[in-house]
């Protein structure tokens, strides 16, 4: 009904005036700044992309920008060698099998916990929360030996799990969840905490239970936060090398794509140019995740709820 309609300004903007000029200039400066910064930021990526289409002898003898002028000596060698890697398909499958639960589990559990930290009262709440933030600083390398020892003691090794007909990735899922939870809870509870309390009270009077409030109010309203969290957690897990090696190992049947790709490079670092192609290949999935979730970053998810 009262949808604001932009007042027609064409008549005034068409006229040449200092105001008109400064508006135009301001716009121009903005676009130049945005595009300039973006391009500058992309230089390393562009360099990598071009390098991935160059022959090794060209890579070590000249800069990537020289490829942009004739003679154009591009090659698909790096990509074809990469795709020839023996178990790329298997490791792609493994990466999905690792990354999806290792994202779903910590994000879901973090959402549960963050809801409690933000909107429930319990003894020690603030201190536990603080401790969680502090745990972000624990260097993961220190945890490998004690945690693996415990997992072996509990029989949670890939071999035994496979023998029992369970996914060998379970310890890795749990590890990624454990390592990812402090950040996830921290991010989400800060977001949840900022939700207007009136909504919760209103829902309480309306008769919504804890579960209903969580699923029908908190989650839908936190979509941007959850989307960013999903992206980050997925990225970290997808690109992880060391944690996977520690908890499931690098055997072909369980190795994620990072392990397979990094092992393309020879023991002395020969053929490291394959990593350039590998970097782009392994970037595809996280980028698809990012692009598909980007539409959830919308303005004013809370608009109209509590502001007059």
């Amino acid at each position: 009904m009262t949808v604001a309609v932009a007042s027609p300004t064409s008549s005034t903007t068409a006229r040449f005036s200092p105001r008109w000029l400064s508006d135009r200039l301001g716009g121009l400066v903005l676009h130049v700044a945005v595009i300039g910064l973006t391009v500058a930021w992309m230089v390393p990526t562009i360099g990598l992309l071009i390098t991935s289409f160059r022959l090794p002898q060209d890579i070590s003898n000249s800069g990537w920008w020289t490829a942009l002028s004739p003679p154009f000596k591009f090659t698909l060698d790096n990509y074809s060698q990469m795709f020839a890697a023996s178990n790329l398909g298997q490791s792609m499958f493994n990466s999905f099998m690792i990354s999806i639960p290792a994202t779903v589990i910590p994000v879901t559990l973090a959402a549960f916990a963050a809801y409690a930290f933000a909107w429930m009262k319990f003894p020690g709440r603030d201190w536990i929360f603080l401790a969680l933030v502090g745990l972000l600083a624990v260097p993961l390398q220190l945890t490998f030996i004690p945690v693996t020892t415990e997992l072996v003691r509990l029989g949670l090794t890939p071999d035994k799990l496979t023998a029992a007909g369970l996914p060998p990735f379970i310890p890795l899922w749990l590890a990624h969840a454990g390592y990812g939870l402090p950040f996830s809870i921290y991010l989400l509870s800060n977001f949840f905490r900022a939700l207007p309390s009136d909504l919760f009270e209103s829902a309480e009077i309306d008769g919504a239970g804890t579960l209903t409030v969580f699923f029908r109010i908190v989650l839908p309203l936190s979509v941007p936060a959850i989307a960013s969290l999903v992206i980050f957690q997925f990225l970290w897990v997808w690109n992880d090398l060391l944690v996977a090696l520690i908890y499931v190992g690098g055997v072909a049947t369980v190795a994620p794509v990072t392990v397979t790709l990094v092992n393309l490079v020879g023991s002395y670092g020969q053929n490291y140019q394959l990593l350039t192609a590998a970097a782009f290949f392994s970037m595809i999935v996280p980028l698809v995740v990012f692009l598909s979730l980007q539409r959830y970053f919308v303005r004013g998810i809370l608009a109209g709820s509590v502001k007059g």
């Binding site: 945690v147 369970l166 900022a194 804890t210 941007p224």
Partner: protein
């Protein structure tokens, strides 16, 4: 290529697609069902624990228990005997260049520059991008480095920092620019300990630069999400009131984004303290670029000095405390406001 993978990995597939979400949903619905069976009075006392239990359990297993073990180990020698503060003394001896001091100094640099650059760039880009119609495109492009693994990131930046002797055609992007645009001799960015302004070593900044490049997408995405949370009419009202764009940023946007800036800032400070990948892969701490996490890694896996590594880790954990106190005050303030 065959299609066997689906058959052989069927349990995994089923577990991933059906099992995991099912278990998670069943847990919380079941938990709530049990809570509702409880007498009215007991519910508020039990309910929060149902919601936080799985998270706390995992965190305890994977982080708390090892962290406690670390604290104990930091007081023990290689054979597990208690030796008081000797491990700490060994790390903190020989100020300003001995023990862990170089690493501490560099972590300080990381703390300042990494956090500041990433926050500032993220904020700047978020605000600028918010005003252009092709926002999602530029945002994705800036985000791309986030999707690059740390192994590939190091490869990229070795290309950026590559060095050839003066007079030779440069293969590194930065030296090429330095040479052709500024007509200067190439630099060995990663090895060059020259101190800018007499304080900040060039190679430290070069390492930090590579890490910043890789993480700006993180702050951009979160800050931009927060920016989107600011009601448009508030900005319009400020514009109608005649505020300039810079004033609007300073007086309206920034204060409203403050809680998010604190979250991102805290995370970055901790990332800076834990900085490892880039340093390990590019210099392994040589040329005075060591950082605490790399030092710890070396003590742990090269020296088998668990006590020393634990002492470094404890130092690292202790430095986080001021950040925590700041956070406590911040979220108590948010709590009080509602």
């Amino acid at each position: 290529m065959d299609f066997n993978v689906l058959l052989t990995d069927l349990p995994t597939l089923v577990a991933v697609v059906v099992g995991v979400p099912l278990v998670l949903a069943a847990y919380i619905v079941g938990g709530e069902y049990l809570v509702r069976r409880l007498p009215d009075k007991a519910r508020p006392a039990v309910r929060p624990w149902i919601w936080v239990a799985p998270a706390l359990l995992l965190v305890t297993g994977f982080l708390v228990a090892p962290a406690i073990g670390t604290v104990f180990q930091s007081f023990e020698d290689r054979h597990g005997a208690f030796i008081g503060f000797q491990n700490f003394a060994a790390q903190l001896t020989g100020f300003p260049t001995g023990g862990a001091w170089i690493a501490i100094r560099n972590n300080l640099f990381w703390l300042i520059f990494y956090t500041l650059f990433v926050l500032a760039f993220g904020l700047l880009l978020a605000v600028l991008f918010d005003r252009v119609p092709y926002e999602s495109v530029v945002k994705s492009l800036i985000f791309m480095p986030m999707a690059i693994s740390s192994v590939a990131l190091v490869v990229i930046w070795k290309f950026m920092y590559a060095y050839q002797p003066p007079g030779q055609p440069q293969t590194g992007t930065l030296n090429f620019i330095l040479n052709t645009v500024f007509h200067q001799d190439p630099r060995t960015w990663i090895q060059d300990e020259t101190q800018l302004l007499g304080l900040f070593p060039l190679n430290d900044l070069a390492l930090i630069g590579a890490a910043v490049w890789g993480i700006v997408g993180f702050s951009l995405v979160i800050l931009s999400a927060a920016l989107k949370g600011i009601p448009a009419d508030l900005l319009e009202a400020a514009r109608v009131d005649g505020a300039g764009e810079i004033t609007i940023f300073r007086r309206v946007i920034f204060p409203l984004m403050m809680p998010t800036v604190v979250v991102v800032g805290t995370t970055l400070v901790i990332f800076a303290l834990k900085a490892f990948d880039v340093v390990y892969a590019m210099t392994n701490g040589n040329y005075q670029t060591d950082v605490l996490a790399n030092r710890m890694y070396k003590l742990l896996y090269n020296s088998n000095d668990f006590g020393g590594a634990s002492a470094v880790a404890v130092i690292l954990l202790l430095t986080v405390i001021p950040v925590l106190i700041f956070n406590l005050r911040q979220f108590r303030a948010v709590e009080a406001r509602r």
